[in-house]
């Protein structure tokens, strides 16, 4: 791989990678069983350089912000490369958000440029809020020939001959603004520097290396911190190859493992669980004698890999299992949400090492990863080199809030000094997660101090972001809190949101109000819905500026309301 200590910015490192491995394949893009694109590093340069020049000629100046809203595909990475070459700041947005949410975040990030897939652009332009957008240029990919682009330009035609004037950035300059949450509430735009990414890439690839020939299957959205690092920056600075699929249906994902001989893949816990169910069902369908042999092979594999993975041996002991994963899988990476130890152990026992870790967008990508020396299913691994962890105010069991210090910690939240000051204190990132270090340095997580939930699909949901859905319901006041925040339950599975309702004096909670709340709740995407409600008989404690004092309210509820009083919605 490149020696990243030599570089001051991502643009320079990526540019050198393209020159260093011109004939290696860097990208494969498949749609179902059809391969649509295959690019070498040299081809990639030919695609991205004219775009960089055209963006520069269109006045994308150093420090200007350019958003990308796309599903995982080659044009995503080519666009990001082009932005970095000319000193732009990338704003990767989640393509699964609604058009209104996209417009909110475009406005908050002050993006002047946007690169977007046609179907998403169509939805954005149909939004009533589109009229007030402040975009200077929108580049639209894959638009049908007759499509009206509402002022957008075709990405495929937005090219200029000649090299752009490459703009060097320092390690402290902004590389990306990544939103960890905040649509509808208080946007949390994490400003991550070139130094953050270079450091993260160096330490992560020291434990999980890429090299030419490695194939990474990119399934998590590239706007997500994990895929941006292990599905773009990491593979590219090592000469490896990224495989994109235009459909994520399980049957095509399974096929891709075999067809492209995948080396690494990152999956969110929900998909890992789904995979486990599928594999177990296949095992259960085996005839008795085959199942007996399989169980013996698994037992042998467990014995031989107790201290360290031995993938070559595991492939010999369990050939049919490994063939189903393409035969060359070195590790399955998982993160972004809680995953239970039994699932991790299940795959490890089959000889498929699982690199589970823990991180936050605020810390670039990851803070801790399982180093497999030996594999531990009960922890989220050890801190990466350069990461210091502290447990703040530990209780009698050693459990307290996890704080982290590292060169990967973000610069600040965009335009929110108050939230930044609450989150980064004396250089320590206060994660809001509760954990404990064990004797061997592994970190175990137990719950959250902060008022939020993480779904099994890896989505962070902050109650403030969905409260406005219930604006105007017939109660005196209301707010939403995470159940674990109210009752400090020490677990991270099945996290729920609770609506706290304060009625007017002498007001009854009627069926009409309940129906209205249910209807509003149904209008939210399923993963954002509130699970139940509590009727609270006091006014909410508030600050002088009338903000709800959530910590105080949660403490009062904790002391007087039993979790069993929550009524389902």
């Amino acid at each position: 791989m490149l020696d990243l200590d030599q570089y001051s910015c991502l643009g320079a490192a990526l540019r050198d990678a393209l020159d260093r491995w011109p004939n290696e394949t860097c990208l494969i893009e498949a749609d179902r069983d059809r391969e649509r694109t295959r690019l070498t590093y040299s081809d990639f340069k030919q695609v991205a350089t004219p775009l960089a020049r055209a963006l520069q000629d269109a006045d994308l100046n150093p420090g200007d912000r350019c958003a990308i809203i796309m599903t995982n595909q080659s044009k995503w990475l080519a666009s990001a490369y082009a932005i970095f070459q000319i000193g732009g700041v990338l704003v990767p947005l989640d393509y699964k958000l609604s058009a209104e949410e996209h417009l909110q975040l475009l406005a908050h990030s002050k993006a002047k440029f946007l690169i977007v897939e046609y179907h998403l652009w169509r939805a954005i332009t149909q939004s009533p809020e589109f009229k007030s957008h402040r975009l200077k240029i929108a580049l639209v990919t894959e638009a049908p020939p007759t499509a009206q682009l509402n002022g957008g330009y075709r990405w495929e035609e937005f090219r200029r001959k000649g090299e752009p004037n490459v703009v060097a950035r320092s390690r402290d300059d902004w590389a990306c603004i990544v939103y960890s949450s905040g649509t509808g509430g208080r946007p949390k735009g994490c400003v991550l520097t070139h130094g953050n990414y270079l450091e993260q890439c160096k330490t992560l690839t020291a434990w999980y290396p890429f090299w030419p020939g490695v194939r990474y299957l990119s399934i998590l959205p590239t706007n997500h911190a994990i895929d941006f690092m292990v599905g773009f920056i990491g593979p590219f600075v090592c000469g490896a190859c990224v495989v994109h699929l235009r459909t994520l249906r399980p049957e095509f994902v399974r096929d891709a493992f075999v067809r492209y001989k995948i080396t690494y893949v990152t999956l969110v816990p929900m998909i890992v669980k789904n995979l486990e169910r599928g594999v177990r069902a296949n095992f259960d369908a085996l005839p008795g004698w085959k199942r007996f042999l399989l169980d013996r092979a698994i037992a042998l594999n467990k014995a031989f890999t107790r201290n360290r993975p031995n993938v070559k041996l595991s492939r010999k002991l369990l050939p049919s299992v490994h063939r189903a994963f393409g035969g060359e899988l070195l590790a399955l990476i998982t993160g972004g949400a809680f995953i239970d130890g039994a699932t991790l152990q299940f795959f490890y026992d089959l000889g498929i090492p699982i690199a589970n870790g823990y991180g936050l967008t605020e810390a670039c990508t990851v803070l801790t990863v399982n180093d497999l020396k030996p594999f531990r299913a009960d922890t989220v691994g050890k801190p990466l080199p350069g990461v210091e962890l502290r447990i703040l105010n530990p209780d009698s069991e050693g459990i307290g809030e996890v704080a982290a210090k590292s060169l990967t910690i973000m610069s600040h939240y965009l335009d929110d000094p108050e939230l930044t000051a609450e989150t980064i204190v004396d250089g320590w990132l206060l994660t809001g997660d509760l954990g404990r270090r064990d004797g061997s340095g592994h970190l175990q997580l137990f719950g959250r101090k902060k008022n939020m939930v993480v779904t099994a699909g890896g989505k962070n949901i902050y109650p403030e972001d969905i409260e406005n859905t219930f604006d105007g319901i017939a109660v005196k006041e209301y707010c939403i809190c995470a159940a674990n925040y109210l009752w400090s339950k020490r677990e991270l599975q099945g996290e729920k949101l609770i609506l706290i309702l304060r009625l007017d004096i002498n007001q009854n909670f009627t069926d009409t109000t309940r129906s209205e709340i249910q209807s509003r709740n149904q209008s939210l995407p399923d993963f954002k819905r509130v699970a139940g409600y509590v009727l609270w008989d006091k006014d909410f404690p508030r600050t002088a500026s009338m903000k709800i004092k959530r910590d105080d309210l949660a403490a009062e509820i904790r002391n007087t309301v039993h979790p069993s009083s929550v009524k389902e919605l």
Binding site: Y95, K96, H119, L120, T247, L248, R249, P250, G457, P525
Partner: protein, 80 residues
């Protein structure tokens, strides 16, 4: 080309069969994640079944932001 009502009814029939839910329990404006008790991956498998039935190719994004049978039927109808 089938009418939108016919498309919608065929979707409801297929969903009922695929996820073994009584057909009479499904109605056009139901949130199919809730009624069928399925997650987003299972919803994608329903899309595959619908592609085979209607003989069209449906990109994954046609499911984005859709959670009721009626909107799904509109999206499919537009591609027939």
């Amino acid at each position: 080309m089938p009418t939108e009502v016919k498309t919608l009814n065929e979707i409801l029939d297929l969903a009922a069969t695929q996820f073994q839910v009584p057909r009479e329990k499904l109605s056009p404006d139901d949130d199919f994640f809730k009624t069928l008790k399925i997650d987003s991956l299972q919803a994608l498998s329903l899309l595959t079944r619908l592609e085979q039935h209607f003989n069209v190719e449906l990109p994954d994004y046609e499911l984005q932001g859709v959670s009721d049978f009626r909107t799904l039927a509109e999206r499919i109808q537009a591609r027939l």
